[in-house]
């Protein structure tokens, strides 16, 4: 599982200038227009569901508004199949519920993928000092669960600590078999060089440590994501501007995507997420950092609530050494495009043919 060094799939300089309309086939929301007959059938089904929802709302209106909203949420459609009106309705519903629940004004953004944008990420492993500020910033930005029990702690970024290791003289004669000449040297099976057996729970007095290097990982936002292929209900999908997202209200918690991910990027909400009111980030995106519920899968989405409005993801912003670069792969002048054009880059586990849009590089 040694990372393979690969040239970038397409030199950013050679890329076409951004066209005003994004490639239709790349945007999953565009495929909706084709399934007209199904839509008619669906809307029929939704009509009856809507009446059910209405009844439910009436029934609960006198008592618990939260329950009524959750009841309505139960019957909403897959996000991609919602009409703009339904999206607005769902958004308003969520904003009402979250605002009441967390005691502050919570916004749920529904901004779509912007034309001419293909998000990309590059990380300088030479620079990373293993401080894990990115991990912390990510949890705070993206409203992850942070309870005391192991199942209540969710982090999307892992910084793997890799031992530098060393080749030792005294181990030279310790290999096997003995007698007829050593075939496996005594320095085999000792860490040196990067292998994916890093530790991500390390507590040193100071970073960087002398005997370690660091390899941060998170969702690679693959161009050919295996997690999307195995989802039986199409709740996880690739957005037009690149990130792989999850409709948390549609996920059935079957965990096939978690088994399919070669980067261990996905987490299950093992229980009702623990998110203290005062720590909740009220600026959210529907497909991004809005609070999740029990039993659904979540993962990094490159801070859609920020990046769809021209800001950097939280991890990029917080990195004290500037190891993290983010930008538009279609813009030859963006930081990430410049990295791809000028540095030696590689993709993690390139042999899996997932074509990540998350690149590693070094000076």
């Amino acid at each position: 599982m040694t990372p393979h060094v690969n040239p970038p799939a397409g030199s950013a300089k050679g890329a076409e200038p951004a066209s005003p309309v994004p490639a239709a086939s790349a945007d999953p929301s565009k495929s909706v227009a084709r399934t007209t007959r199904r839509d008619v059938l669906k809307s029929g089904g939704m009509l009856s569901l809507a009446s059910l929802v209405g009844t439910g709302t009436l029934m609960a209106a006198s008592g618990d508004a939260k329950a009524a909203i959750e009841w309505a949420e139960h019957f909403q459609k897959n996000y991609r199949l919602m009409t703009p009106e339904e999206k607005a309705e769902s958004r308003a519903r969520l904003e009402r519920r979250y605002s009441a629940e967390y005691g502050k004004k919570v916004t749920v953004d529904t901004t779509d993928a912007q034309p001419g944008m293909l998000m990309g990420y590059a990380l300088n492993i030479r620079k990373c000092i293993g401080c894990r500020r990115c991990v912390k910033a990510c949890v705070e930005e993206n409203n992850q669960s942070r309870g005391p029990r192991p199942g209540e702690r969710i982090e999307w970024i892992q910084v793997l600590r890799m031992e530098r290791g060393e080749f030792r003289k005294e181990k030279m004669d310790q290999g096997y078999p003995e007698g007829l000449g050593i075939q496996v040297g005594g320095n085999a099976y000792t860490p040196s060089g990067q292998v994916l057996e890093g530790q991500y729970h390390y507590e040193p007095k100071a970073v960087p440590e002398k005997d370690a290097t660091y390899m941060p990982i998170a969702c690679m936002q693959c161009e050919k994501p295996p997690c999307v292929k195995v989802c039986p209900v199409r709740t996880t999908y690739r957005e037009g501007d690149g990130p792989v997202v999850i409709d948390y209200n549609w996920c059935i918690g079957c965990r096939m995507c978690m088994g399919a991910c070669p980067y261990w990027a996905r987490r299950l909400n093992m229980t009702n997420p623990v998110l203290p009111k005062q720590d909740m980030n009220p600026v959210t995106h529907y497909l991004g950092n809005r609070p999740r519920m029990r039993g659904v899968v979540e993962k990094c989405h490159w801070c859609l609530q920020r990046t769809r409005h021209g800001r950097y993801p939280a991890c990029v912003e917080v990195c004290p050494v500037g190891a993290r670069k983010f930008g538009n792969l279609l813009d030859p002048e963006s930081e990430v495009s410049l990295v791809l054009a000028r540095k030696n880059v590689f993709r993690l586990k390139a042999e899996a043919n997932t074509f990540p849009k998350f690149f590693y590089f070094y000076d």
Binding site: M1, K42, K229, P232, V233, I252, M258, L268
Partner: protein
């Protein structure tokens, strides 16, 4: 006529001796426990289980995979009966179909137990939800399992109905369904193997011997259980299962078990000879990794049970002795159950794709829910078998007064 069939059938299965009521009562109690822990799991979440984000498929998924095999195993009765016209098997075909029906229902129960949000199951239903097809293997699995359930329900109950009514089987309608269900039995376990073998992120599963290994273990575990059921039926009811049927099943178990052991050995040699990082899962299973050895006793007990059962099946005086045969059957069944669960599903997650070695220990809640679902399955199986036997022995017959069962 149909309503008479249903009322006679229901009346028959409701009546029974003390032994019958005690058995059903115990199963019923376990089912109550099952409902309680299922409710617990769906209010507190999967945190009440031993599963984690590292090892996120556990006991439920393992039982699901195993029971798909048991369901597919019913074909070891149907195939000899209809393709080789085996007399003894032909008499009991319908019992195999009833076993398949109960096994598939248990599979569905384990799917519900496994899901993080079973309340959203409707998202899978076409038209009102999204049925993602043909991309995900899970979609294929849902499809083949449901059709297999329907095929067996139709074949089994149509046959029983004709027996009840005393009319001839319409072969133009019945035989095509039987042949389809034979092929379909293979498909359900093949697709279930594909379900996990198509994940390159989990190197322990990512190899092409998986489907045939699934089939051979299924055709060992399934008939092993059927033999046990047949022997119980012989002892407790008026229905007599021929020795020839049991002997043929024992032969099938023997050789499928033999091939399964051979395939496991091949895997061990190939993986451990090169011993790449992709072999770490198997190494963890066999010897432990980084000092964690929770699965090692499971693996070796499974090896002992499977090889031991194989040797016992090879001894003629043993396999032909109906009082000793159950020992080997139980050994094979338990051995394969361990091999599918602790020996296949869990080590697939160890180490994780980033090399993390963690352990999985099922909680009491998880074990209770699993036992509860098995009880539920046996409850259904008992009802289905009792009804079927009542019809086969002629105790339920159109126009006959309902008889009291012996069981």
């Amino acid at each position: 006529m149909l309503t008479r069939f249903l009322t006679d059938y229901t009346r028959y299965v409701l009546k029974g001796g003390t032994k019958y009521y005690a058995w059903m009562g115990i199963l019923g109690l376990l089912m109550v426990a099952m409902v309680y822990v299922f409710w617990l799991q769906n209010t507190d979440g999967l945190i009440v289980t031993g599963m984690t984000s590292q090892i996120h498929d556990g006991l439920y998924f393992a039982n699901l995979v195993f029971l798909v095999g048991v369901a597919a195993g019913a074909v070891t009765i149907v195939f000899p009966a209809y393709v080789y016209h085996h007399e003894g098997m032909h008499k009991v075909t319908v019992l195999g179909e009833m076993l398949a029906v109960s096994a598939v229902i248990m599979v569905i129960m384990f799917v519900l137990a496994h899901m993080g949000r079973p309340d959203r199951l409707w998202h899978l239903i076409p038209v009102i939800g999204i049925y993602n097809f043909p991309g995900p293997m899970l979609g294929w699995d849902v499809l083949v399992l449901n059709i297999y359930l329907i095929l067996n329900l139709i074949c089994g109950f149509y046959y029983l109905y004709t027996k009840y009514a005393g009319v001839e089987v319409n072969r133009k309608f019945f035989m095509p369904l039987v042949y389809i269900s034979i092929v379909w039995a293979l498909s359900i376990h093949t697709v279930t193997a594909f379900l996990i073998a198509t994940l390159p992120a989990r190197p322990m599963w990512f190899h092409s011997v998986m489907p045939i290994r699934f089939i051979t273990t299924a055709f060992a575990a399934g008939p092993a259980m059927i033999i046990l059921v047949f022997l119980i039926i012989r002892k407790n009811t008026k229905f007599w299962v021929d020795d020839s049927a049991i002997r043929l099943l024992a032969t099938i178990v023997t050789w499928c078990l033999g091939i399964a052991i051979f395939l496991t050995l091949s895997e061990v040699v190939i993986e451990l000879y090169a011993r790449t990082e992709h072999a770490n899962g198997l190494y963890y299973l066999m010897f432990g990794l980084h000092g964690l050895t929770a699965l090692v006793p499971w693996f070796w007990s499974s090896v002992v049970l499977m090889v031991g059962a194989f040797v016992l099946f090879l001894i003629p005086s043993f396999r032909n002795d109906m009082s000793r045969l159950p020992i080997a059957c139980v050994m094979a069944f338990v051995g394969i159950w361990i091999e599918k669960g602790m020996g296949l599903i869990v080590p697939g997650f160890v180490p994780s794709p980033i090399g993390e070695v963690t352990e999985y220990v099922p909680t009491f809640v998880e074990i209770l829910l699993t036992v509860g679902i098995w009880a539920f399955g046996f409850f259904i199986l008992t009802i289905l078998l009792k009804g079927a036997i009542g019809i086969l022995t002629g105790e339920i017959r159109f126009g006959a007064s309902p008889a009291v069962a012996a069981k």
